[in-house]
């Protein structure tokens, strides 16, 4: 009858010892967890218990299913095999414990017998192999392929790099030791007890054949030795979970559970007390501290970051690692601002959200960057150009420092007068935006937008010179007060107008109007012009008179794509116009930011930058064979790419156009 004698060959004292160690392990583990939770609670409060159902579902899909981890195929296989391998083996041990210490002890029966036992052994052996495969993949990648994102980068980090390296190695070494010792224990047991059903433990069975030479008493001794090793390693592993990288077993699902369920485009609110932004680590919320602790240093965020790619000082990965280390650094007296995180790093961020999007643990790097920026802005530690721009925004309501009256200069050549939404009711309130209104490169395109709306017989109006910058990037820069004052001004004007829907040219305007203005009372639906045109085309209300046969590629603006999930509408429009669309390698939610967001277009460029993000992007577009035009749907993208085409020497090789230009041409 297939069965395994629990504690076979294990003397009584070892059995007792195991239980005592087990108890100790649990105590140490609990203490470790408690210590960490206590530190998180030193942070500021934050409400993250809403929408429990949605949260649990996310844990299922993203923590257990590891959906994001699997987006990198190699890493997906590697981690899932390790994870499920360990889970299976852990469940296996748990079942064995229940079988012996519960059902046998209290109810007089055991269930790991016969068929159940055979299946049990087989499954565990297989999962053990999978686990070793995963571990092998991990070792190979980390120590042989050595991808840059797994290497520590900053000088500051290098001082602690040894600890980090050791931590990374520790997990792999321990898991390998447990698995191998486990197999050897099994093999040695089979070698001595020679059960008939041993082929159902294929690995153990194969190993057993190695020990035919050593013979019985030796094998028993070896068995006990390896069993002791296995127990010790396992307990040390478990006890060390809260003190090592393995803590992510708990922290990652927790982090995923507590992630923000707000739309991506909603920034964390500023605190309402005296402290503005984050000055020291205790000013972070407990959730932000959990973010730092849950990070496993996979570095995907660094790979996705346009600032890092350009050579600037920021690496989202190192940002989080530095913060996590700082959290526990009680003796060095390092200050958060300046010693741990430099202001250069903070200002290098374009708020593109690629890091947040790609993180398998759902760390929100951006929230912490903005929170730290808020402090710098409050202290006035911002570069001169940004200061000037903020002053201009405060005084003139636009980032160009031009008079409000010039906002509508672009309308002058237009014959049919555009309705003034302040005076008449309109169906669509068109929020034009600073760049589309003031920037010399864009006025023609804004006129075309108006023409397209007119040709489509839309009832639309604008706010004329009462429109102000909606403040999206002001908020990402960290000037909450200025943001609020802009919102007030816009809301005051908008509340007096009668309209059904807001339509915007600029995705930045779109983002804040849609996701953040409702909190201030604006509840009208907001559309980006691509959504609107898409609707009109679908309803047959847009007359496309000629098909354009251009071969184009499309750049997903950060604030349209990653932030608001609008990927398909612009593509449908491009196809409806008769253009042939070829995707760039980095498209959709992996689109590479042009580098203007987060207020960067208002700042001086950092000298370390080797290749501007916009240049990298236009090279990517120009590199697609046959493609003549790079199409975009954001005014800042257009400005950045047109400039980049010149500086990268690609004039004549690729055109940059806003989608509305193509629509206008086709009508």
């Amino acid at each position: 009858m297939p069965f395994r004698e629990t504690f076979w060959n294990i003397p009584h004292w070892a059995e007792i010892g195991q239980y005592i160690l087990g108890l100790l392990t649990i105590l140490v583990f609990a203490y470790g967890v408690f210590r960490r939770v206590k530190r998180w609670r030193m942070g500021q409060p934050e409400k993250r218990f809403d929408q429990i159902g949605k949260r649990l579902w996310s844990v299922l899909v993203d923590a257990f299913g590891q959906a994001r981890t699997a987006q990198d195929a190699y890493a997906g296989i590697m981690h899932l095999t390790i994870f499920w391998g360990m889970v299976a083996l852990f469940i296996g041990t748990a079942l064995a414990t229940v079988d012996w210490d519960v059902t046998h002890l209290f109810f007089g029966f055991q269930f790991l017998i016969n068929g159940a036992y055979i299946l049990y052994e087989l499954i565990l052996d297989i999962f053990g192999v999978l686990l070793l495969v995963g571990l092998g993949m991990a070792v190979y990648r980390r120590y042989f392929i050595r991808p840059p994102r797994l290497q520590p980068a900053t000088a500051w980090q290098n001082a602690l790099a040894q600890n980090v390296d050791r931590d990374d190695a520790y997990a792999l070494v321990m898991l390998t030791l447990i698995t191998l010792s486990g197999y050897f224990v099994e093999g040695l047991r089979i070698a001595v007890s020679k059960p008939e059903w041993s082929p159902w433990s294929p690995v153990g069975n194969a190993l057993a054949s190695w020990f035919i030479v050593t013979g019985d008493p030796t094998n028993r001794t070896l068995h006990l030795t390896l069993w002791t090793i296995h127990i010790l390693v396992a307990f040390i592993l478990i006890a060390s979970i809260p003190f090592t990288k393995l803590f992510h077993i708990l922290a990652a699902p927790l982090n995923i559970f507590f992630r923000s369920m707000q739309p991506a485009g909603t920034l964390i609110p500023a605190r309402n007390d005296d402290q503005v932004g984050v000055k020291e680590w205790r000013d972070f919320t407990w959730k932000q501290l959990l973010d730092f602790e849950a990070c496993v240093r996979c570095g995907r965020c660094q790979d996705a970051c346009p600032a890092f790619a350009s050579g600037a000082s920021l690496s989202p990965r190192n940002f989080i690692i530095s913060l996590k280390t700082h959290l526990w650094d009680t003796s060095s007296g390092h200050r958060l601002h300046g010693d741990v995180i430099s202001s250069k790093e903070l200002w290098a961020c374009t708020s593109c959200r690629a890091c947040v999007q790609v993180c398998p643990i759902f760390v929100d790097h951006l929230a912490s960057i903005v929170d730290m920026r808020r402090y710098l802005v409050n202290e006035g530690e911002i570069d001169a150009l940004l200061q000037k721009t903020l002053a201009n925004l405060g005084r003139y309501g636009n980032s160009f420092g031009q008079s409000e009256r010039l906002r509508v200069k672009w309308t002058q050549p237009i014959q049919a007068v555009i309705k003034d939404a302040r005076k008449e009711a309109v169906e669509y309130l068109w929020f034009v935006g600073d760049y589309a209104s003031y920037h010399v490169m864009f006025s023609d395109i804004t006129r075309k937008t108006a023409q397209v709306f007119q040709k489509a017989d839309l009832d639309f109006g604008i706010l004329y010179d009462a429109e102000r910058n909606t403040g999206n990037d002001v908020r990402r820069v960290g000037e909450e007060g200025l943001y609020e004052s802009l919102v007030e001004k816009n809301a005051a004007v908008m509340s007096k107008c009668k309209y059904n829907t807001i339509v915007t040219t600029d995705p930045h305007t779109y983002n804040t109007l849609k996701n953040e203005y409702p909190a201030n009372g604006n509840n009208h639906p907001v559309l980006h012009y691509t959504e609107l045109l898409d609707q009109l085309i679908a309803a047959g209300k847009l007359q496309i008179n000629k098909k354009l046969n251009y071969k184009v590629t499309y750049h997903d603006p950060c604030y349209l794509g990653r932030y608001n999930g609008i990927y398909d509408a612009p593509r449908r429009i491009i196809r409806a116009l008769g253009c042939e669309l070829t995707e760039m390698p980095r498209h959709g939610d992996r689109a590479f930011c042009c580098g203007a967001g987060g207020g960067k277009i208002w700042m001086e460029e950092q000298p370390e930058v080797k290749e501007r993000p916009a240049e990298s992007r236009v090279r990517e577009a120009a590199g697609i064979p046959g493609v003549s035009t790079l199409v975009t749907t954001c005014p800042k993208d257009l400005v950045m790419f047109c400039d980049a085409v010149k500086t990268a020497g690609l004039e004549g090789k690729i055109l940059v156009k806003d989608l509305i230009e193509l629509v206008d041409e086709a009508m």
Partner: protein, 321 residues
């Protein structure tokens, strides 16, 4: 009160400033309306010879060691007595670091009216002033008493105030100049730049319109293609985007190149003071109302970010041939 026009000569470290000659020319124009003489007022120490090429009818020279270099207190005390004693129709000061330190204080001390930023005089002797960044001109009446005026360049040429014939020099007694409240400690030379822009025949100059430090690159490329150098207006230098050795203007260098290309420069008087005498000024500015177009010979409102690279490229092509 007589009808003479006095000109307070501005000199620095042994050299007469161009604006002094310019004022002499202006004084001549005003004197024609008032019917008086043009009298230069020179304060200094062993500085008499500076008067030799001045187009003045007379020179009043006050000699005192404390007047060797300009300090506001010393000049104010000396001129107060002189002006109160002589009662001229008008006294012209330079609208400069030296002139303005003296003029306003004297206006209050002597209770005499002051008109500032005067650029020229109308035919009947009315001062025409340039204010509001060069956007507005104001013509005033010359009050009926000794009037102090500060003059800015633009209305007259320094050459018009120079003369081959040395005027008569009349020595005037200096007042007691003890216990001065303002004393000169030392001069600090500017950082020696790699280039002396005042000697360059072709200058490509950038202003606020260049928007940020990196864009200056396109101006440098154009300058290279033209065989010239890059200079800048005050806002650019204040931001630290270019060194002070490249500053053109009132506080910077005065340049008279063959070609002065002004990119994104509005043309405020302080800047024009430094380049207004260039042979050919070409202004590129998207604001059609920018005052620079009033001093430029040619102008265009095409965006400099489109024009400059295009120009550079065409120049390179032409030069290769």
């Amino acid at each position: 009160m007589n009808q003479d026009i006095y000109v307070v000569i501005e000199h620095l470290r042994g050299k007469t400033a161009d604006i002094s000659y310019l004022m002499l020319a202006g004084a001549r124009a005003l004197a024609q309306a008032t019917g008086g003489e043009v009298i230069a007022v020179l304060l200094g120490h062993n500085a008499q010879s500076l008067a030799n090429n001045m187009a003045a009818d007379k020179v009043l020279y006050v000699e005192h060691p404390a007047l060797a270099e300009f300090t506001s207190d010393a000049y104010q005390r000396t001129l107060a007595g002189l002006i109160a004693g002589k009662e001229p129709r008008a006294v012209l000061f330079a609208s400069s670091s030296i002139g303005t330190d003296a003029a306003s204080v004297l206006s209050a001390r002597l209770k005499l009216p002051l008109i500032s930023s005067c650029q020229s005089f109308s035919a009947d002797g009315r001062p025409i002033c340039q204010i509001c960044g060069g956007k507005i001109m104001a013509e005033s009446d010359l009050p009926d008493t000794t009037t102090l005026l500060t003059m800015t360049p633009g209305g007259y040429k320094p050459e018009e105030g120079q003369s081959g014939k040395a005027p008569d020099v009349i020595k005037v007694e200096a007042p007691s100049l003890d216990n001065l409240r303002v004393t000169l400690k030392q001069y600090i030379e500017p950082e020696a730049g790699d280039v002396d822009i005042s000697k360059e025949p072709i200058i490509v100059s950038v202003g606020r319109g260049i928007q940020n430090q990196d864009n200056i690159e396109i101006a440098e490329e154009l300058a290279r293609a033209l065989g010239g150098v890059v200079a800048a207006s005050r806002p650019v230098v204040d931001q630290g985007w270019m060194s002070t050795s490249r500053l053109v203007g009132k506080s910077g260098k005065k340049v008279k190149p063959k070609i002065y290309l002004a990119l994104g420069i509005s043309g405020a008087p302080e800047h024009v003071e430094g380049m207004g005498e260039s042979e050919v000024i070409i202004a590129i500015n998207t604001d059609t109302n920018a005052p620079i177009f009033n001093v430029a010979k040619y102008g265009t409102t095409v965006d400099l970010f489109d024009l400059v690279p295009a120009l550079t490229e065409k120049l390179r092509e032409v030069k290769k041939v």
